[in-house]
C-alpha cells in the first residue's frame, strides 16, 4: 500500500509513532539522533529488512553476498549490512538501513535527489554513485550506530542498502539466508 503526502499528514501522529517504534524495535542499538525534517513529498514508506536473532546462526553470508552482488568482491568492509557477533553466547545482531520515513541521510546530502535519492515509486533510499561526492555527510547524519551509510574505502563514494532495487529476486541477503533469519517486510509491519 502506498501512502501519499496528504494521507501522511492527515495521520501524521500515528504513522510517525509507528515508524519510530518499528525503527527502534528493529535494531538493538537505538537511534541517537532524531529526525528533524518532514519526509520527502508523495513517496510511499519503503519496505525494509528485518532480522530474527533467534533464527540467526551468525554465519555472515548476508554481508558476503551483499558485497559480492554490489561490488563483485567479498569482504565485510564492502557490505551494506553489519553483523555483530558474540560467538561465546551465540548472539548475533544485524544492522542495516531501516529506510527511515524521514531520512536524515537524504536531507544531509549536499546533492540531495542527485546523489542520495529516494525512489518515488517504492520509497527506497539509494546512492547514485556517479554523482556522489563521497563527503560522508549521510553517514554522519545516520541516527543509528553503527551508521548504515558508509564511504567506500577505494571508490570514495557512499554506499548503503538499497534493498537490491535493481535485482529481480529482491535483496540478496534475504535470499541467501539459509536460516531464514532475514525477511523483507512492508514499511508499516513490525520487525
Amino acid at each position: 500500500m502506498q501512502i501519499t503526502r496528504r494521507e501522511f499528514v492527515a495521520g501524521a501522529g500515528t504513522v510517525l509513532a509507528l515508524g519510530a517504534v518499528s525503527n527502534l524495535t528493529a535494531c538493538a542499538p537505538v537511534a541517537t539522533k532524531t529526525a528533524t525534517q518532514s519526509p520527502p513529498e508523495g513517496v510511499p514508506i519503503s519496505t525494509r529488512i528485518v532480522h530474527n536473532p533467534n533464527l540467526c546462526a551468525g554465519c555472515g553470508v548476508c554481508g558476503l553476498m551483499c558485497a559480492f552482488y554490489h561490488e563483485k568482491e567479498y569482504g565485510h568492509s564492502l557490505a551494506r549490512n553489519v553483523l555483530s557477533r558474540d560467538p561465546f553466547n551465540a548472539d548475533f545482531t544485524f544492522h542495516v538501513c531501516q529506510q527511515c520515513t524521514s531520512p536524515n541521510c537524504y536531507f544531509s546530502c549536499p546533492k540531495k535527489d542527485v546523489a542520495l535519492c529516494v525512489d518515488k515509486k517504492t520509497g527506497v533510499k539509494y546512492v547514485n554513485t556517479a554523482e556522489c561526492l563521497g563527503c560522508g555527510s549521510c553517514s554522519s547524519a545516520c541516527p543509528f550506530t553503527p551508521p548504515r551509510a558508509n564511504v567506500h574505502p577505494v571508490k570514495k563514494v557512499s554506499f548503503m542498502c538499497d534493498l537490491c532495487r535493481d535485482r529481480k529476486d529482491g535483496p540478496i541477503c534475504v535470499e541467501y539466508c539459509t536460516m531464514h533469519a532475514l525477511r523483507k517486510v512492508s514499511g508499516k509491519e513490525k520487525g
Binding site: A57, C59, F68, E73, P87, F88, A90, T178
Partner: protein, 623 residues
C-alpha cells in the same frame, strides 16, 4: 594487475629476532599448489624440510588459506601444518584444518599464509591488522583458558578473529589444540603445543580487505545453482551438530532442552554445528567429535557436556580423548594402576552398571583430574596415548596397538580396504578429510561406478575388496589434497552430497568455482593433477625428512591378526599377502617406486616437479 583468489603475500614472522616481513606467494607456485596444505607443504619443502623436533625453535608453524577462502560458501578454512608432536613413534610433517572465522580474516588482511618460526623469550601474541603486524606481550594471557583469552583479546581487538591455545598448549601437551571461537580447532597433530613451545599464546587477525573474484557472474551463477539444488547451500545433507553423535538419552536431552541455535563457520551456508548451553557448565558449539564423553558418561548429559566444554577451554584434542577413554577401558587398572595415571577413579569402571555411572559429581571429579592433569603437563597422558602407553610398558602398549592403527592416532573409520590403505600411506589420521569412503564409495556403489572405481563394499554388509582398490585410494588422496588446498570443507564435498548427475561429479563443481575465482582455467584434469602433485609433494617431504619407506606404510600388526577397532571397522582382519600385492599396485598407480615407496623421477617430471626430483636425488632419496 588485479590479483584474483590469492592475495600474493605470505607473512613471515620470526619470534626469535622479532623480524616481520612479507614474501611473495608467487615464489611458491600457487597456481600449482593452490593453498592450504599444498602451499604449506611447498613452503616446508623450500625451507629444506627441517629435520628438527616439533618443539625446536626452527620447527615452523605454517597456517595457510587458499584461493577460495573469503568467498561465501564452505571455503573458509585454514590449514595448519608443521612437525606434529602427536605423531608416533616419529614426529611427522602433518596437517590440521580449522574453520571458524580465522581463515577469512587472514585473507581479508591480505595474506595467503602465515609462517611462524623461532621462539620468543617471553609469552607473546601476534596481532595482525591488515599491514600492521605486531608482536605483543602476552604475560597477562598466559595461563588463561581458550575462552578467557579470546574474551580478553576481543576487548583490545574488537571484531578480530583469534587463534589461541589453552594451558595444554602452554605446557606442551602433545595433544593440544589451537582454537578459534568455541568449537573450531586445529585438533589432530598437537599443533597447540608447537605454539606453546614458541611462547606464542595467540594470533589475532582483523582484515578490512577483500577477496577479488575474476569471473563474478560465473561464480554467482554456480552459487545460485547449488542454492536452488537445495543441497549444501541450504544446509541440507550434513547436520551432525543438530544431534550429538553419541546419540541416546544425551542427544535427546541436548537437542530438546539445551540447543540454543545452529551455528557454523564464517561465510558458510551450511550450519553444521549446534550451540548448546547447560547453565553451570557452560556454553559452546559442538559438531562431531565433541560427543566423545557421551559414549562414556552412562547417559549423563552433564558429564558429556562438561567433558566437551572443559577440553575446549583447556585446549585438548577431543578426538584423542576418545582414544584415551577407549584405551583406559581396555587396559583397566590391573596393568597400569590408578596412581600412574593420576586418577582417583574412572567412573566407567568403578561405577559400571549404576545409573549415570555414579552421578554428576563423580564425572566432574574424574574429568577435572584427567583434563587438568593433561593440560598441566603433569599427567603421563599429556604426552598422548601413544607415548603414555610406551612408557607404561608392553602390556599397556598391546591394547594401544589395536585402537591406534598407525602413527599414534586413534582408529577413525577404517571400514574398507581402501581407507585402510589410505591410513597406511598418510602421516596422521587422514580421515577428517577423506570421508569419501564411508560417506561415498562404500555405501553408494552408484557413485563409485560413475567415477569408474570399485565401491559398494559398505553397502548391505561390509566386504573386504582388494581388487582395483589402489585406484579408489589414489582417487581419494588426490581429492583430499584438493579439498585441503582450495580449500573446500570436507562436509560440503562428500560425494554423497552430490548424489544426482551431473551434480554428482563434485570435481566439476570444484574446478568450476576455482576457475571462476582465480581466472585460471582449471579443467577437471588440471585440478586433479594439482591434487596428485600436492599428495606427491607431501610424500617427498616425508621421504626427505622422515626417510619414509614402504615398511612404514602399514597398520599395526594386530590389524592383520584379528578384527579390531570397534563398530566402524573392517569386516575382517587384513590379509597380509593381498595387502602387500595391493601396495605394489598402489605404488605403480602413483608412479612411486614399489621397492621403497619413494616417488620416482618420471612421475615427478610429469607433474612439473623436476626440482623436487633433483633435490631428492642429491639427498640420495630418489630410487
Amino acid at each position: 594487475m588485479d590479483r584474483y583468489g590469492w592475495t600474493g603475500k605470505i607473512l613471515w614472522v620470526d619470534l626469535t629476532t622479532k623480524k616481520i616481513n612479507a614474501v611473495p606467494t608467487s615464489d611458491y607456485e600457487p597456481e600449482k599448489y593452490l593453498g592450504g596444505v599444498g602451499l604449506n607443504t611447498k613452503i616446508f619443502w623450500e625451507m629444506g624440510c627441517p629435520k628438527v623436533d616439533a618443539f625446536d625453535p626452527d620447527s615452523p608453524l605454517l597456517i595457510s588459506v587458499g584461493p577460495m577462502t573469503g568467498a561465501a560458501g564452505p571455503f573458509n578454512r585454514a590449514e595448519v601444518c608443521g612437525i606434529a608432536p602427536q605423531s608416533y613413534p616419529q614426529e611427522t610433517f602433518a596437517y590440521s584444518g580449522i574453520g571458524g572465522k580465522i581463515a577469512s580474516e587472514i585473507k581479508y588482511a591480505g595474506y595467503d599464509g602465515l609462517v611462524i618460526v623461532g621462539k620468543s623469550d617471553q609469552p607473546v601474541y601476534l596481532s595482525i591488522v591488515d599491514d600492521n603486524v605486531e608482536i605483543q606481550k602476552a604475560k597477562f594471557l598466559w595461563g588463561l583458558d581458550t575462552f578467557e583469552t579470546q574474551r580478553a583479546l576481543s576487548k583490545e581487538h574488537p571484531k578480530a578473529a583469534v587463534l589461541t591455545i589453552g594451558p595444554a598448549g602452554e605446557n606442551l601437551c602433545r595433544v593440544a589444540i589451537i582454537l578459534n571461537e568455541t568449537a573450531s580447532a586445529a585438533g589432530q597433530g598437537g599443533y597447540g603445543a608447537v605454539m606453546g613451545s614458541k611462547n606464542l599464546k595467540a594470533i589475532v587477525v582483523k582484515g578490512t580487505g577483500t577477496l577479488k573474484v575474476a569471473r563474478p557472474d560465473v561464480l554467482m551463477k554456480l552459487q545460485k545453482e547449488r542454492m536452488d539444488a537445495n543441497e549444501w547451500l541450504k544446509g541440507g545433507a550434513q547436520s551432525w551438530g543438530r544431534y550429538p553423535l553419541c546419540g541416546g538419552a544425551i542427544a535427546e536431552e541436548m537437542r530438546a532442552n539445551r540447543l540454543k541455535r545452529m551455528a557454523g563457520c564464517h561465510g558458510c551456508t551450511y550450519q553444521c554445528m549446534g550451540f548448546y548451553d547447560i547453565p553451570g557448565i557452560g556454553k559452546g558449539a559442538q559438531m562431531c567429535m565433541e560427543a566423545w564423553y557421551g559414549w562414556f558418561s552412562g547417559g549423563s548429559s552433564e558429564g558429556y557436556w562438561e567433558g566437551n566444554i572443559l577440553s575446549q577451554k583447556l585446549g585438548i584434542n577431543n578426538y584423542e580423548l576418545m582414544g584415551i577413554m577407549s584405551w583406559l577401558l581396555a587396559v583397566r587398572y590391573g596393568i597400569v594402576g590408578k596412581k600412574k595415571l593420576g586418577l582417583t577413579s574412572i567412573p566407567m569402571i568403578d561405577h559400571a552398571g549404576k545409573p549415570q555411572l555414579g552421578g554428576k559429581r563423580v564425572h566432574h571429579d574424574f574429568l577435572t583430574e584427567l583434563l587438568y592433569g593433561m593440560a598441566s603437563g603433569k599427567s603421563i597422558l599429556s604426552k598422548g596415548t601413544a607415548r603414555a602407553a610406551e612408557s607404561l610398558g608392553p602390556a599397556a602398549q598391546k591394547f594401544f596397538n589395536g585402537i591406534f592403527p598407525a602413527r599414534g592416532y586413534i582408529q577413525h573409520h577404517i571400514e574398507n580396504v581402501g581407507s585402510a590403505l589410505h591410513w597406511a600411506m598418510d602421516t596422521r589420521d587422514p580421515y577428517s578429510s577423506c570421508h569419501d569412503y564411508s560417506s561415498g564409495f562404500g555405501p553408494y556403489p552408484k557413485i563409485a561406478s560413475y567415477f569408474g572405481l570399485p565401491g559398494g563394499d559398505m553397502a548391505g554388509g561390509k566386504k573386504m575388496v582388494y581388487d582395483r582398490t589402489e585406484y579408489q585410494t589414489a582417487w581419494v588422496q588426490n581429492h583430499q589434497s584438493i579439498k585441503n588446498s582450495m580449500p573446500i570443507c570436507e562436509y560440503a564435498s562428500m560425494p554423497y552430497s552430490f548424489l544426482h548427475p551431473p551434480a554428482m561429479d563434485i570435481r566439476i563443481f570444484e574446478s568450476s568455482v576455482l576457475s571462476a575465482v582465480t581466472g585460471i582455467d582449471y579443467s577437471v584434469d588440471r585440478l586433479w593433477e594439482a591434487g596428485d602433485r600436492i599428495y606427491t609433494l607431501r610424500r617427498a617431504v616425508a621421504v626427505m625428512r622422515e626417510n619414509r619407506s614402504r615398511e612404514q606404510d602399514d597398520l599395526s600388526q594386530v590389524w592383520f591378526e584379528r578384527r579390531v577397532g570397534g563398530a566402524e571397522s573392517l569386516a575382517a582382519p587384513l590379509d597380509r599377502a593381498k595387502w602387500e600385492a595391493l601396495k605394489n599396485r598402489f605404488y605403480a598407480v602413483r608412479g612411486w617406486n614399489p621397492a621403497n615407496g619413494r616417488p620416482a623421477r618420471p612421475k615427478l617430471e610429469q607433474l612439473g616437479m623436476k626440482g623436487v626430483a633433483d633435490k631428492l636425488q642429491r639427498a640420495g632419496r630418489l630410487e
